[in-house]
């Protein structure tokens, strides 16, 4: 579960630098990958790869990436306590 007080927000402008802080980078095809192992793409809850343009956030649990998509965002509601 996610405590509703523990939300870090960011704007579009900060996306790339924030990913770098998370030790992620973007590969030549636009996918988010581990900075130290660029062949390893990060994954969403459904096990899908995610492009930088689709990136909306991260939640814990081995870093689950969230897509910039209303369905993915509303799914988070079930995890907020």
């Amino acid at each position: 579960m996610i405590n509703k007080e523990n939300i870090v927000r960011f704007d579009e402008h900060s996306k790339e630098k924030l990913l770098s802080i998370m030790n992620k980078s973007i590969d030549s095809e636009g996918f988010i990958v581990e900075k130290l192992k660029t062949t390893q793409k990060v994954l969403t809850k459904d096990g899908g790869e995610i492009k930088f343009t689709e990136f909306a956030g991260v939640r814990r649990g081995s870093e689950i990436f969230i897509k910039n998509d209303i369905n993915s965002v509303l799914e988070l509601a079930d995890l907020i306590e």
């Binding site: 523990n6 927000r9 630098k17 909306a56």
Partner: protein
């Protein structure tokens, strides 16, 4: 360590003489563009928001935030882009407990429930006059035709006026187990509803409707509700009304046009 204390540690590191105590105060953190690398905003009495502009950070400051990051991650924090946060907040504060969502939780499958949840969100945005085209596209991409149909049915009030009463009826009759099959037919075959799509021409719509009318005649269904939103869809429906003017086997007992949408009840004799 709590999320608040991590935020406070970040504040203390970058702004040591801040004079704000951890006790009796709450904190949150955001990465927004601003005038300075770090700004503290007191949102309410004892709540402080720490804004960091990563573009204004020095390499040393970035290095330090990178060191703080695992603590944030491990504290069950959710890191979310502002527009998505706004949508989530709206849903949690205003829509999560709408009666229809509470009612159908566990009564329809998870995929359909998720489509209904997104539909509730979209309809609320639509009612506020916001552009919902991107949300509709995302709904369709995730849930396909089924999701779009659920959204149309919810938007025209069928969940409250038809599907929920139908469930209640089956439940009272100890036939609850029949509901999912009937629901599936109602959503996918749409026997009594037709939603005019902006992507279909008036000729294609007439063809769809005449096909549906014939099918309903065959199965003894004497009703077809036609719905359209927006000027061009209203025109298409009006063109269809002209086409059936001379038909004696079709009647229009009611037609309501209001706020850029039209609902037409067609009686099949």
């Amino acid at each position: 360590m709590t999320f608040g204390s991590i935020c406070k540690n970040i504040l203390d590191f970058f702004l040591p003489s801040n004079g704000i105590t951890l006790e009796n105060n709450t904190f949150d953190l955001s990465f927004f563009s601003g005038n300075k690398f770090l700004e503290v905003k007191q949102e309410v009495n004892n709540h402080y928001n720490i804004h960091i502009d990563l573009d204004k950070a020095t390499p040393e400051q970035i290095k330090k935030i990178t060191e703080f990051y695992p603590q944030i991650r491990d504290e069950d924090a959710l890191i979310l882009q502002e527009n998505n946060y706004t949508d989530l907040k709206k849903y949690l504060e205003e829509l999560k407990n709408v009666p229809i969502l509470k009612y159908f939780k566990g009564k329809i499958n998870d995929q359909d429930y998720n489509a209904l949840r997104t539909s509730v969100f979209i309809q609320n945005k639509f009612n506020l006059g916001d552009d919902v085209s991107l949300y509709l596209e995302q709904l369709y991409r995730e849930f396909g035709v089924r999701g779009r149909n659920i959204c149309n049915l919810y938007g025209e009030g069928y969940f409250e006026s038809f599907i929920q009463p139908f469930y209640v009826l089956l439940e009272a009759d100890s036939r609850k187990d029949e509901f999912l099959k009937q629901f599936d037919q109602f959503v996918m075959e749409q026997p009594i509803t037709y939603f005019v799509s902006q992507h279909r021409t008036k000729e294609q719509i007439s063809q769809d409707l005449f096909g549906k009318i014939e099918k309903n005649k065959k199965y003894g269904i004497k009703k077809l509700n036609i719905h359209g939103i927006g000027e061009s869809n209203i025109k298409k429906i009006k063109s269809f009304i002209k086409e059936i003017e001379t038909r004696t086997d079709l009647k229009i007992p009611s037609s309501i046009e209001k706020d850029g949408r039209i609902s037409l009840c067609l009686e099949i004799i």
